[in-house]
Symmetry: D3
Subunit: 208 residues, 6 copies
């Protein structure tokens, strides 16, 4: 039915909740998460650019803004499932891509098909833009998990999410990661907290 179908479908990501099931003080929609990733990525790219990297802003814009569009078709499948077996992870990715491609084939007019394939492709490649997307996506897990722990959420899930996301970030070799770890994260860790968990300590362990 054309690009209208695509625009209209965006609304569905406002109604899909991240991390379903677990008790949370705050619920986040996939749409709001996606917007925050766009924001982090923008600032990370600015930092990267100030340190001499060349950023393809068009690519960065495309891959960050749509990076979770596929969840319209598969929902927020829980991380443990995605990782339950390498075959499953691969197959789920294939299905997600297949459903996105079907959507484009069915709804997007011929002359815009190539553009939508680009927009809705998996963006986390090894380019600087792909890496920034990966950092920004994990940063939002850090922020979400931190806010839960800080308010005294005792679910172990959020300790794991916080630590795993930090570990993934620190292994990415970008100037903006260095800035995040040296200037942004310490401000977060020094915030007042209700948690019985020693956030400073789990942060240091994750970064060790």
């Amino acid at each position: 039915m054309g690009i209208h179908t695509y625009f209209r479908s965006l609304n569905e990501l406002e109604r899909i909740t991240r991390c379903p099931g677990k008790f949370k003080f705050e619920e986040h929609s996939v749409a709001a998460h996606s917007w925050k990733v766009v924001q982090y990525a923008k600032t990370l790219a600015n930092i990267e650019e100030m340190n001499g990297s060349v950023i393809n802003w068009k690519k960065l814009y495309e891959i960050t803004s749509s990076h979770d569009y596929g969840e319209i078709f598969i929902g927020d499948i829980k991380t443990p499932v995605k990782h339950a077996s390498p075959e499953l992870r691969l197959l789920i990715q294939q299905v997600e891509e297949g459903m996105v491609n079907n959507f484009i084939e069915e709804h997007i007019p011929e002359e815009y098909k190539a553009i939508f394939c680009n927009q809705l492709r998996e963006g986390k490649d090894d380019s600087v833009e792909g890496l920034i997307l990966e950092v920004a996506d994990k940063m939002d897990q850090v922020y979400e998990a931190f806010a839960e722990l800080q308010r005294g959420n005792t679910e172990q899930e959020f300790v794991k999410m916080y630590c795993n996301a930090l570990r993934k970030i620190k292994n990415i070799d970008l100037n903006c990661v260095k800035y995040f770890l040296e200037h942004i994260l310490p401000d977060m860790v020094s915030e007042e907290s209700m948690s019985s968990i020693d956030i400073r300590k789990i942060t240091e362990e994750a970064l060790a």
Copy 2:
């Protein structure tokens, strides 16, 4: 940690929303859905028993009350994904069962392991109890979809859900299905409706 971990986890199904993404006038949790399935199944089994069938009530109790427990691990993966390919459907089922088994292995004391394996097994087999569970599960889709259509929800998803569930029900050879189609469904269809869709007509087509 023992059966406490199991009891505690039940709470998560109160926080998992059915049919995520689509606009709905009413949200339903997996826990509430499970309870309604328990209720329908009880009455369906009563009807079946009145018509001369022998019901294994222990088995029926076990399989209906826990039939969606696995969604704690995989969330409400959307129907189209499950059906995107036979391999995927199979693999998702294997993962779900694997995660349930892991849970039992890790948390349930040795002497109760067999019981929990029974309780949390896939119950939709060809026994009368398995068939009643299948009917009850689909009946809740009929009720959910009908309530949305009746209030004027224009999402095509609910037309599909309504018709597909009816088609599956009518192909199950049970006395209680006959009763549902002849005495319960007509009362539903004759309710007042805001829908621009002709519910009577799509019902007849689904049952044709």
Copy 3:
């Protein structure tokens, strides 16, 4: 209008909130509560059966799954009101039963009336099934209250609910109660907690 009216009404218990008025970190519907009671009862009955008791599974199924159906007519009338005077408690019970009977009279076809009278009767009698229902119902109060206290809820209501429910459970002479007190409750009490209340201590006092 027939059994359809009954099935349709189940939905209302999804919209009735337990313990209205008090501040809670988590809201629970009567439907979700009912489902958890079904689950607890199933496992309690399994434990009881392993210890040599004979369980009437059909009866257990009937009384646990419908045990709060009457709240459709009277809402979740607060416990203190129910107990304000013996006459009131009795009269409220009479009204609830009267309204359930009226419902059956008006809506259920003649041939199913006896079945529905059985299903929707007050189930908490002195049979093993009735006692298991009582334990399962109180266990959900323990779980609900514990989860509030654990997260730092300072409402005294939840201390009372937790202690009263434990006191009622410990006075019921069943093998599954012994198992609950010796193997399940200790795991709960040893969980991490934000509470300024000493949960271990109030647990010991309630069980003393």
Copy 4:
């Protein structure tokens, strides 16, 4: 503990939902309902005063602002229950009053007890202020029910609520009732509506 306990308890009426169970497009708390009753009563009293009545504004203030305070203790017990039998209605009223009196006895300092007894008394007597309160309370039922019907809610409950409230209003002999029926209600009835119910017609029947 003093008046603080009273002030703090007001918060609970923000969390008690009116008309629990039924499907509604909009939920209303008892606190918000109470505020709207205060507003209607004020305007009704102004109209009454303009027509020559003498209003005791202190009394009107007292009885309208606290008229549902007792629901903190008994919740929003459903209307059909209240009316199930004359004894029950009377007993529930006695319990509500008893619990309010206990509260005052226990928490309110000696020198303010008389004032709180006045404030929290049942206000719907035959004085002009008591009658205005009755009209204002029913007017909010009219507004709530109308808004549901207007949006296409098909629950018969709201038809009954609308008609019953109108019938009670029309039988109260006040100038402000005359104004409401002649000048305010017609504006409501002439609003655009999605309802399949002929609101004009049921209005005329209720007022006949």
Copy 5:
């Protein structure tokens, strides 16, 4: 369209959230806030009257019940904005009053215009009623902020709200203020709290 438009508009204040944006354990609507202000003011006026003051109850009723009606037109504009500059504060007040006047001009029948101008006027003048309204309005900020801090909310916003409101209250020369500070506030401060903030200390500093 007449007074119906006014009555109908009241509903909008049920849907406007106080203090938008900040994380809160409890959301409050402007309507529920307004009702609590009506309640506090009533008791404050009773206390004042017992100490020999003469209260104009009609005026008190009018100004307290409608004191935030203007937020229907301007929403809950954040306090820092209102105070960002004296011109802005003044202009926002002018706009609010202008929009209220327009509303009256357009919708209220000629013979009631004067009454509505009185009802919807800014009530916080130097009369005893105006001062009581000011105290009651600030008391609700104290209660809202205290309940957040007590539950461990770490947002500095609520510390500021609590302290600023207390400072404004203590500078108002009324007997009821003396009663509040000597008898009500100490009960609040002595409640159990999860906060890492020393509420007693910030209370003393605010009152110093």
Copy 6:
């Protein structure tokens, strides 16, 4: 405290509701709105580029992703207020900009100040990127209002929002506007609708 303060504040836009007060079938947060604007703008820019325009993607990224950041400080001040008088509109804009500048001054490290001034500036200028932002922002009003009308919302507010947004869009001279009006809007208008309003007709009038 550095960029952390900025990242953390993004969360507040998840909690600010668009169009507060009015009855809506669906609530939208400012964060989710912002994300949809980012998405529309990306596709609009693609269309514009295909028609020969040169897009500064960095600028487009910056201005679209942050275009409502100022609402953290002033909330969603209602459109009628913003337009109540030219002085007010100007002053509100000045205050918003002043508060954003204060935020940057206070929290953003010296070396990133210029970047944040750029990012958080008012982006709706006469450049192609500024115009695309204006179109995308208005398109989300069209989508929000349409979805309400389609479901039978009778609030006149949404008719006005729909028509005004369309009128602003059609007056912007861009190729992507032409595409929207000729290919996307007709698909929207031809969707099934519950509305008693003739959406096709009001669309034609707005575009006339």
